[in-house]
């Protein structure tokens, strides 16, 4: 029997308990898509990564400052006071007089083995990434909230897409720590002293690095390092007749000023073995290093590989030299033939391991060859160092 029905009511009643299951393939499609971490985890992961980076960076810094052997040039000096120095000088003069003016032109006869020591100091910084997160709090008006929520869904997806695109061209900040093996390209007769035998030295460096992704393959990186490089000539035999100062080619004119003791014109004695003293000649150069390097990506993936090349500018901010023996020590002032600005050519490889989208660690063996270190290149002393740079990198 027919009856007139309101069309709304007809559909409401008919479809009230309507349910239909989708095809099984639909769940398979959903399952494959939700296997990847959803976007909501991006922010917490980033923050967690940032915290980890900060903790490791701080730990490395503390370890570097307090635990690793730091070469303190001044600490190796015997603690001599003025009176000791004076008595030493008087004793020397007595000995000299006893030998009755059989003077030789050289004041010091120096034999040596040369060591090069090098300390690099870098500073570490990290930065915080601020992520865009669209949040909508549910409040009173249910409908308005639903509408806002709906809008946020589409906006969030657009922002996420932009974020991912942006991550392909982003900045990276990194901590850097590197054990450094230093040495020099020098001829047998080069170096600080004649007949030089420059021994390799192991030191370390730490600092901060910034990188900008120029393209998919290339990125530009720079940073700031504070580097202290020390050269020491160990096992120097010093005869304490002090009429003149000659360290073979390391002549007086390499120093801006000379101490009274060294410049003394008292009568000289020959360098008899009785008077020889074993000592150390030290020089400390402190630099602010600003590297500028181009990185080319060879392999991109969980483990990536890059080639790095570039140069560093070294700005001199510390320049000291001093001599030390068992009986005395004396500053020699500043070396005047070292350039206030010099450079190095850098080349190496960089292997990185991706921890997550924003965080990765890297190991980068780098060879840095310094040039223009000395005003007079005739010294034939061309320092270089090989560093295994490791770091925690954070992309944002």
């Amino acid at each position: 029997m027919k009856e007139r029905k309101d069309i709304d009511r007809l559909f409401q009643e008919s479809l009230k308990d309507f349910e239909e299951l989708p095809a099984p393939k639909v769940w398979n499609a959903i399952e494959s898509k939700i296997q990847t971490p959803p976007n909501k985890h991006l922010l917490p992961l980033r923050l967690r990564g940032f915290r980890v980076a900060m903790i490791v960076a701080i730990s490395l810094t503390i370890a570097a400052v307090y635990m690793l052997p730091k070469y303190d040039y001044f600490s190796i000096l015997p603690k001599t006071n003025d009176s000791e120095l004076l008595s030493s000088k008087k004793q020397s003069e007595k000995n000299i007089n006893a030998i009755k003016k059989e003077t030789q032109p050289e004041g010091f006869v120096v034999e040596k083995k040369l060591n090069v020591t090098q300390d690099n100091e870098n500073k570490t910084v990290d930065n915080e990434n601020i992520d865009i997160n669209l949040k909508k709090k549910k409040s009173t008006g249910f409908l308005q909230n639903e509408i806002d929520y709906l809008n946020s869904i589409s906006k969030k997806r657009k922002v996420d897409k932009k974020k991912i695109e942006k991550q392909d061209n982003n900045f990276t900040i990194s901590t850097v720590f590197a054990p450094i093996y230093s040495n020099s390209f020098a001829s047998e007769k080069a170096g600080l002293l004649n007949n030089g035998n420059i021994l390799p030295n192991l030191s370390y460096a730490y600092g901060v690095k910034f990188a900008y992704q120029l393209s998919k393959k290339f990125s530009l990186q720079s940073g700031i390092n504070i580097v202290n490089i020390g050269y020491s000539a160990n096992d120097i035999y010093v005869a304490t007749n002090v009429s003149a100062v000659n360290f073979s080619h390391l002549s007086n004119n390499r120093f801006k000023s000379l101490p009274e003791l060294m410049a003394s014109t008292e009568p000289m004695a020959s360098a008899s073995s009785q008077l020889n003293e074993k000592g150390i000649l030290n020089q400390i150069f402190g630099y602010v290093e600003i590297p500028l390097e181009l990185k080319y990506n060879l392999i991109n993936g969980k483990i990536g590989m890059n080639i790095v090349g570039g140069f560093s500018t070294f700005l001199l901010n510390k320049n000291e030299a001093f001599i030390q023996t068992n009986s005395f020590s004396q500053s020699l002032g500043e070396m005047k033939d070292i350039r206030s600005v010099n450079f190095s050519g850098n080349i190496g490889v960089d292997v990185d391991y991706l921890i997550n989208k924003n965080l990765y660690i890297n190991v980068s063996p780098m060879l840095k060859m310094q040039t223009g270190t000395f005003i007079n290149d005739s010294h034939g002393f061309y320092p270089y160092y090989l560093g295994i740079y490791t770091g925690i990198n954070y992309k944002f």
């Binding site: 029997m1 027919k2 009856e3 007139r4 029905k5 309101d6 069309i7 709304d8 007809l10 559909f11 409401q12 008919s14 479809l15 309507f18 349910e19 239909e20 299951l21 989708p22 095809a23 639909v26 769940w27 499609a29 959903i30 399952e31 898509k33 939700i34 296997q35 971490p37 959803p38 976007n39 909501k40 985890h41 549910k138 409908l143 308005q144 639903e146 509408i147 929520y149 709906l150 869904i153 589409s154």
Partner: protein
């Protein structure tokens, strides 16, 4: 396992919990998609994307109100967002009578036919008819959700009713002829 625990596990991306939630609510939510979509294929697409969205947003559910209601709202909003992005909802307001009746006897037309009639409605009418008649939203709410005026919402609804009535009567008369 309780629903609350399941939801919390889903928020932690637990695939087993997600599967269980899916099995519990797939039928109800797919029926929503069928009513709001033009055909079954489109309904499956909407359902799939909507469920992924649900899993992405499930941590935003604060256990206030019915979970099923929340799921349904997310699904409806997802579908509306899709159609709104197609810019299909701006139409001219027309004045058409409020009540539309159809002469029909019990069991004269089955559920699949009614569903097909809704799916065959133009998108703009189908959405408003679903929101107002089947899901109980007011014209004011619909106007805000679809970013149209209340008058447009009313007009769409009336148009939808007329179309449904005509198609229903045609179908009944065809059945008689057949």
């Amino acid at each position: 396992m309780g629903l609350r625990k399941l939801i919390k596990k889903c928020a932690k991306n637990d695939i087993e919990a997600q599967k269980e939630i899916y099995q519990l609510f797939a039928g109800k939510l797919f029926s929503v998609c069928l009513k709001y979509s033009e055909n079954k294929q489109e309904a499956e697409d909407n359902f799939q994307d909507g469920f992924i969205l649900i899993f992405e947003k499930i941590h935003q559910y604060k256990f206030k109100g019915s979970f099923e209601g929340w799921l349904k709202r997310v699904m409806i909003h997802h579908i509306l967002a899709k159609y709104r992005s197609k810019n299909i909802l701006n139409i001219v307001t027309e004045e058409i009578p409020d009540i539309v009746e159809v002469e029909i006897s019990d069991n004269e037309i089955d559920l699949d036919d009614l569903l097909k009639l809704i799916q065959e409605l133009p998108e703009r009418y189908r959405l408003v008819f679903n929101l107002y008649v089947l899901d109980g939203y007011s014209h004011k709410e619909i106007a805000k959700m679809l970013q149209i005026s209340e008058g447009t919402s009313k007009s769409n609804l009336s148009r939808a009713r007329i179309i449904l009535k005509n198609k229903l009567e045609n179908r009944i008369s065809n059945q008689k002829i057949g």
